[in-house]
Amino acid sequence: MHIFGSRELVEAVLKKDLCTGCGACVELCPYFKSYKGKTAMLFPCTLSQGRCFAFCPKAEVDLDVLANRFWKAPYEGTPLGKYRNVLAARAGEKMENAAFQTGGTVSALMTLALKDGIIDAAALTDRNDMVAVPRLITRAEDVSGCAGSKFMAAPTLSVINRGVIQGYARMGVVGTPCQLTAIAQMKTNPLNRQDFKDAVALTVGLFCTWAVDTRKLLPLLTECIGDACIQGMDMPPPPSEIMVVDTDDGKVEIPLERIRPLVPEGCHVCPDMTSEWADVSVGVLEGEPDWNTLIIRTEAGDQLVKDACNRGYLKTKPLPAENLKHLCIAAANKKKRALIRARDQGLLNTTAKDRHSVLRLRPEILETIIDTAREE
């Protein structure tokens, strides 16, 4: 396995703008901290191997290792990853009093999971001023307070790391594909530690095409909305070319062409649009703003969704074929774009001692992904 330490993490990821601020390396030790969306190393550590590098979703992620661990089969590179079922879903009547964006599926599932004790705490993302901040929620009623898209990565995994130290044993996470890749890395106990405990019992992944660098977005937001308070952020589906910021002063539109340059390189080499390593994944449902697309991947995810439906927390209906087709195309295109870019930047399957890969996958799978998508 290609595991290195903090110095390599800085050289291979932080200095190359590959960091998406997921927080996997933060709060493991005193040396990596996150502030206003930026991860920084306070002091170098001398270890040649560390959990920081091992967990990082942009450092030597071997997709076969993960696939073997989770699906007991090698990585196939299919557009949506492995799944059992895809449905349309939305929050049920038990969630009527809660406020959420779009369908509310994520809030519903996390609320039930906390209520039932399936998880002892939930790592969610909140907003403080303009900045997305992580929170470890222990009360079900506090879940919906964290609802809503942020489009900025928060170091949500840092509260997982702190939660482990605080003694939580069955945490739930709502995260982006990169964050869930990191959780998947964590679950493999990459450093073979004797004291390893898998403290994450439930993962809910979000669909994500890209996120924005917080530090670069903040000045743009300030310019566009001034002193107003942000209440929500949304990106209407294509052909819309805007981001809509909902403030207490009204809605402000920001053209996407001003947002795109603020996307970190790490997002450009990310092949995962639907959080392939989650128990369930949730995204928008094209054409129906009050519903979500829900992908169920594991037995734990399946069980939770069934419970939620039975108890009135969740409503589901079949997903129209068109939606599934479009979703697959979009996901396949992201995968192809990202892998081509990663390959061209020398970040795939590297062999040189001083060059680290972002991802490792079998060359034949890589070929398939690139060729298949070309057929569309």
């Binding site: 030790c29 005193p30 996150s34 930026k38 920084a40 306070l42 002091f43 550590c45 270890l47």
Partner: protein, 644 residues
């Protein structure tokens, strides 16, 4: 009773050079002493402050050296004798006033004592004060040993009153902080009354106004005063010669360097071949005396520190006297015989003599030297300079460094002179990125804070101490506020001028002699300028960091005062806040999750690293119980228990 007073005339005592100077000032019947703390000069004012009451003196730690000289000058204008004390770079600070004072002249004797630091044993420079005497055209004397350090002061006061101008007596570290035998003289008992006469005609030196104008007239007078001094120098008892009547080589030296030269001659057994002329009056050089000794031989070695001041002056004279004395061969700094950098020592003079006279030195057998060197490499780990255990600066720079890293905009800190200068080293996490003179950090940061229009977007911080705040930071801070420069100034307030021995300053309610005096409130001063002020306890890392984050986002001038008393202060030495322990079972040691944070990174000398057991421990002898290590320990293994 201070030991400076308890001996009588004729008694012999072992005194530090600075104490000898202080005793000399007392024997010269001074009334006023003013200075600013600076190693190696501080003990002079401290010694005088201790006897101020008994000897009816006024002794002051002034805000800075310029003000100190002005205070001493006032006493002189009122007919009293006064002494002004500072380290070498203090003269730079006082030099504008000194320039004008040398022009206007003085009345009561005024002796300026700069203590230089060749080799920079306790300085950020090895600049010199000697050239100020030449540049500003005042007499310069240099004591060569401890007896002279005392005797020369009285002589200097007599000279000062004869020529009615300031006289410089220059000491160096190896004299000021060394000790030697001194025979005491009597202490005078005279009554003095201070009166400032100014109604007389313009050019009346004792009764007119004190002016350096009209400049050309006063400058002419100044030069005549110098000629008067030279006449006295020809007969001065402080210029001595030991050696043969016709030496092969003449060494001309001054200050403590003459002791090194004497030692070198003795080691090599060259007492009948080498003569040593020790000059105590080094500016201007008395030409008749010089002609006499330069005529003894054609080979001259000049031994001094640091720059070739004496060497150049001797060479100029030699050129002028060439028709009488012939052409000389000079050895010294210019030809590389003596190093041009660093302090002198006997061995450097031995090397020079061996080279010039082609002799060998029977030193230590080479086999011994080689073995000692070998064992030194294994057996004597180098000692890095470090903040003391419990020093608030370690905690302050921990917070500043970490906040800047998290802020992630390449922010940096400009520093100035004090214990916290050490923050350029790992002990302060290498946080300081510029280091120059007193107060310069604030001035430089104020400059950086105006570079926004040129695309500059790095947060600029400055640190200063509570003493340098009053010394030199105030004008820079006013500059920043007035010009709307975006900076954050961190005042490290440890309630004293710590690096030089914990002297008081205007921010404290006590003066040099221990009297109760009003303290100037740093907070109100900054606020009245229009700066935003916050105060934190640097030992409270969380609060300090949160406050600093907020200030870094603010434009304009922010002042953060980190207030915690120095660990060496008398109050602090009395007791610990906490009893510290390490729970070895919980300690993660060098493994992932800690990697030896407390001993490897925080580096407090109160901690011990046990590599075998992979745990940290507390060194009870050194730990002062500040509790900061417990705040940073990631596993919670370090615990602090409040001491009752």
């Amino acid at each position: 009773m201070s030991h400076l007073l308890e001996a009588k005339a004729g008694d012999r005592r072992l005194l530090m050079g600075n104490e000898a100077i202080a005793r000399g000032a007392l024997e010269a019947d001074i009334s006023v002493a003013a200075g600013y703390p600076g190693t190696p000069s501080s003990d002079i004012i401290e010694s005088l402050a201790r006897v101020a009451k008994e000897r009816h003196l006024y002794v002051e730690w002034s805000t800075n050296e310029k003000v100190a000289l002005e205070v001493a000058a006032a006493a002189s204008f009122a007919g009293l004798r006064s002494i002004c004390v500072m380290k070498q770079n203090g003269v730079n600070v006082a030099s504008d006033f000194l320039l004008h004072l040398a022009g206007s002249g003085t009345r009561g004797g005024l002796v300026l004592v700069p203590c230089d630091d060749p080799g920079a044993l306790s300085s950020a420079n090895e600049g010199e004060s000697r050239h100020f005497a030449r540049m500003l055209e005042i007499p310069l004397l240099e004591p060569g040993d401890f007896q002279e350090a005392k005797d020369m002061i009285k002589w200097a006061f007599e000279l000062s009153e004869e020529i009615l101008n300031v006289v410089m007596v220059r000491s160096v570290t190896r004299l000021s902080h060394a000790s030697g035998s001194v025979v005491f003289d009597s202490l005078p008992e005279t009554d003095k009354t201070a009166v400032f006469r100014f109604d007389g005609p313009y050019l009346d030196p004792m009764k007119g106004p004190v002016l350096s104008l009209p400049v050309t007239i006063m400058h002419t007078r100044q030069q005549e005063k110098l000629k008067q001094a030279v006449a006295k120098f020809e007969e001065s008892p402080f210029n001595t010669y030991i050696g043969p009547e016709t030496p092969e080589l003449l060494i001309i030296s001054s200050s403590v360097c003459h002791l090194y030269s004497k030692e070198a001659i003795h080691i090599l057994g060259l007492t009948d071949r080498v003569g040593l002329l020790k000059m105590g009056t080094t500016w201007p050089l008395p030409p008749k005396l010089m002609e006499n000794y330069l005529g003894l031989t054609d080979n001259i070695l000049i031994v001094e520190e640091v720059i070739p001041f004496l060497e150049e002056n001797v060479k100029i004279l030699a050129v002028e006297l060439a028709p009488q004395i012939g052409i000389k061969k000079f050895f010294g700094k210019k030809d590389g015989t003596i190093p041009t950098v660093g302090e002198m020592n006997p061995d450097l003079v031995v090397t020079a003599l061996c080279k010039i006279l082609a002799v060998e030195n029977d030193g230590v057998p080479e086999i011994y030297t080689r073995r000692a060197q070998e064992l030194f490499s294994a057996g004597a780990p180098q000692r890095e300079m470090t903040f003391c255990a419990g020093c608030p600066h370690r905690a302050s720079f921990w917070s500043i460094h970490n906040v800047l890293q998290m802020d992630n905009r390449q922010g940096f800190v400009c520093g100035d002179i004090g214990c916290y200068s050490l923050a350029m080293l790992p002990t302060g996490f290498s946080t300081l990125k510029t280091l120059h003179s007193m107060g310069s950090g604030a001035g430089i940061a104020s400059g950086f804070g105006k570079l926004g229009p040129f695309g500059f977007n790095q947060p600029a911080l400055a640190v200063c101490g509570d003493s340098t705040f009053f010394h030199a930071v105030l004008p820079a801070l006013i500059n920043a506020v007035h010009h709307r420069s975006d900076i954050t100034l961190v005042v490290l307030d440890n309630s004293g001028t710590a690096m030089t021995g914990f002297q008081p300053h205007p921010g404290l309610p006590v003066d040099a002699a221990g009297n109760s005096v009003p303290a100037i409130d740093v907070i109100r001063v900054c606020q009245s300028m229009g700066a935003i002020v916050r105060i934190c306890d640097p030992f409270d890392l969380e609060q300090t960091q949160q406050t600093l984050f907020k200030l870094l986002e603010r434009k304009g001038v922010n002042v953060l005062i980190l207030k915690q008393i120095c660990t060496l202060s008398p109050e602090k030495k009395a007791g610990k806040n906490f009893e510290m322990t390490v729970d070895e079972a919980t300690c993660i040691g060098e493994n992932c999750g800690c990697n030896q944070l407390c001993t490897r990174v925080f580096k407090c000398p109160g901690l011990i690293w046990d590599k075998q057991e992979n745990v940290s421990r507390i060194d009870e002898v050194i730990c002062t119980g500040c509790g900061v290590c417990a705040s940073i320990c990631p596993s919670g293994a370090i615990k602090n228990k409040e001491v009752a």
